[in-house]
């Protein structure tokens, strides 16, 4: 199969274009149109008035992480290290311990995510066999005044709730 060759017309060779001034005037007319439109009515600016108006976060959007729990509030994570192994940025550090609530044998004693290392790829969510880690908090802005405030502990990850309804999240194809 031969490649189809499409010859694009080269611009800038005609006398009118080489005079340059005419094209400049055309371009300036375009930009002035934008300026004048916005000057007359600044409601038409293509601007979201952040932070008063927040962006709409869709369900599949990968935000800050959280750890999910069973209905009785026990952590779903069984410290299988799948997410830590999969993480391309090496931002997850798990310490496993004995589980005492009777569900399984293991649970994380420590579960830290360094958000300064995290690249928000979502591989941890895909790797998790038990749907224990999710990125559905809808938090897109992580701020802090020192490095340690970006390292999330187990309690921080459990404290945040998901921003979306369960069926919406399932529909999202996670």
């Amino acid at each position: 199969m031969g490649a189809t060759v499409k010859t694009l017309p080269r611009k800038g060779a005609s006398l009118k274009e080489r005079l340059y001034l005419i094209e400049i005037v055309k371009g300036m007319a375009t930009t002035f149109g934008h300026f004048f439109r916005n000057l007359l009515d600044n409601r038409r600016l293509y601007v979201r008035h952040y932070p008063e108006v927040q962006p709409e976060i869709p369900v599949r959007w990968r935000g800050r992480h959280r750890l999910t729990t069973h209905e009785d509030g026990t952590v779903k994570c069984v410290a299988c290290f799948m997410c830590q192994t999969n993480c391309p940025a090496n931002c997850i550090q798990i310490t496993a311990g004995e589980r005492l609530d009777g569900r399984t044998e293991k649970m994380p004693v420590k579960f830290t995510i360094d958000l300064l290392e995290c690249i928000y790829c979502g591989y941890c969510v895909e790797a998790c066999p038990l749907d224990a880690i999710r990125m559905d908090t809808g938090i897109f802005s992580v701020t802090g005044d020192k490095r340690s405030s970006f390292v999330l502990e187990l309690s921080d990850l459990l404290a945040t709730k998901g921003a979306f309804a369960e069926e919406d999240y399932k529909k999202g194809g996670a």
Binding site: F35, N38, D41, N42, L45, Y46, H49, E52, V53
Partner: protein, 428 residues
């Protein structure tokens, strides 16, 4: 020297020294809000004092406060600290001083004496401007060299080569203008442009010298280091070019110098090509003789304009998202009241003109103020053109810049001189 003489000296020096400085704030504001509107965004409009944002002008105060309190770093590798500090001062000083010869109103006749309305009453005129504009590039070259930084040196070198290339077309464009006007004195040039061509077209330089206008504006853009000729600081290639090592107020002085230069070259373009301080179609003598009808017309026109302006403020100054008791509506009402106060003040002044003697000193002062206002409006429009071009055109490549300067503008400027001289000789 009478008290009036001293007062007039103070007024003229104050005008030509402080107006360029005041226009720094206006230029920066126009540039940033203008850039926003050109790009369909809103520009800085959040900084406020007690909720009053003055359409974003308060941002200038915030910027100034930030630049003043920043650490003034002079890197250890800089050997010639004296020249390093001197460079921004040269840029700023030459920019301010070059405005001194630009007339901002026609010669004022008071008590039988005439006062030349420009900062320094020199006869050098345009030569003074050319010399100081040429000198201001020394500041840029010095900054680049004394930074001991490859980007700085490259920026300085580019600036030097660019100024050499563009001073020549600029000078030649001015030569053909001088052939037309027959004088280098800027006030006489402005007076010349107060006449009418064929009785209905203002005899502006732009009408008599359209090619000269294009060449001069292009060269003036290059001289002020503005886009599309801002190669000296092309940030994608040279980080910041000549001012890469400058911070805090040393950078701010460069920045302000650049905007003063913008103001001055706009003033120069207006004076040479757009009639300077002349009100279109109304020469100084006509204005003085008809001060009362003009004042009456203004008395009618100003409130009408203000009415529409108030409507625009009311429409524009609202929050564009649902908000209870929108404080910006209150803010807008305050602005409208302030502007109406100004209008009432203007009306009172104009009323005084209506009751003053015909052709007396009041009429002369009224015409002077009117011409100052006209001059400033024209300059503001020219500054807007600078901003407009900056947010429309991409930067030239260096070889394109040199080719445009030497192969296009220089022959065109020479051609312009020949044609102009032939026409002037044929007509005289």
């Amino acid at each position: 020297m009478s008290a009036l003489d001293i007062f007039m000296v103070v007024v003229r020096v104050a005008f030509s020294a402080f107006i360029p400085l005041c226009f720094i704030a206006v230029c920066v504001w126009m540039e940033r809000r203008g850039a926003g509107f050109f790009q369909d965004r809103s520009g800085p409009n959040r900084a406020n004092i007690f909720g009053f944002r003055a359409a974003g002008l308060v941002q200038n105060l915030a910027d100034a406060a930030k630049l003043i309190f920043k650490e003034d770093v002079t890197s250890g590798h800089i050997k010639h600290k004296f020249y390093f500090v001197l460079a921004p001062l040269i840029v700023f000083f030459t920019a301010v001083v070059s405005f001194a010869v630009v007339p901002f109103a026609d010669t004022l006749v008071l008590g039988g004496k005439s006062y030349l309305m420009q900062g320094i009453p020199l006869d050098l005129g345009i030569l003074w401007f050319l010399s100081f504009v040429g000198f201001s590039v020394y500041g840029i070259i010095l900054a680049g060299w004394s930074s001991t930084n490859k980007y700085g040196v490259l920026g300085g070198l580019r600036s030097a080569a660019q100024v050499i290339s563009y001073e020549i077309p600029m000078g030649l464009a001015i030569v053909s203008l001088l052939v037309v006007y027959g004088t280098i004195h800027l006030n006489e040039i402005a007076q010349f442009q107060g006449r009418l061509l064929f009785g209905f077209i203002p005899m502006w330089g732009a009408v008599l010298q359209p090619l000269g206008l294009v060449i001069f504006i292009v060269a003036a853009f290059a001289e002020t280091n503005r886009t599309p000729f801002d190669l000296a600081e092309g940030e994608s290639e040279l980080v910041a070019g000549f001012h890469v090592e400058y911070s805090a107020m040393k950078f701010a002085v460069f920045f302000m110098g650049e905007y003063v230069a913008l103001f001055v070259s706009s003033a120069m373009i207006v004076t040479l090509f757009f009639g300077g301080y002349q009100v279109p179609f109304l020469s100084t003598a006509t204005l003085i003789n008809n001060a009362k009808p003009v004042a009456f017309l203004l008395m009618v026109a100003v409130p009408v304009a203000m009415h529409y302006f108030a409507g625009w403020i009311r429409r524009s100054n609202v929050s564009h998202y649902p908000r209870e008791n929108d404080p910006r509506v209150f803010e807008a009402e305050i602005y409208i009241k302030c502007f109406w106060g100004l209008v009432i003040f203007l009306e009172v002044v104009l009323l005084l003109i209506l009751f003053a003697d015909k052709g007396g000193p009041a009429a002369h002062i009224f015409v002077m103020l009117l011409q100052m206002a006209t001059f400033l409006v024209k300059v503001t429009m020219m500054i807007f053109v600078y901003i407009w071009v900056r947010w429309t055109l991409p930067r030239f490549r260096y070889d394109q810049l040199q080719r445009l300067g030497w192969q296009t503008l220089l022959p065109l400027a020479l051609l312009n001189i020949f044609v102009t001289s032939a026409v002037v000789v044929a007509l005289s």
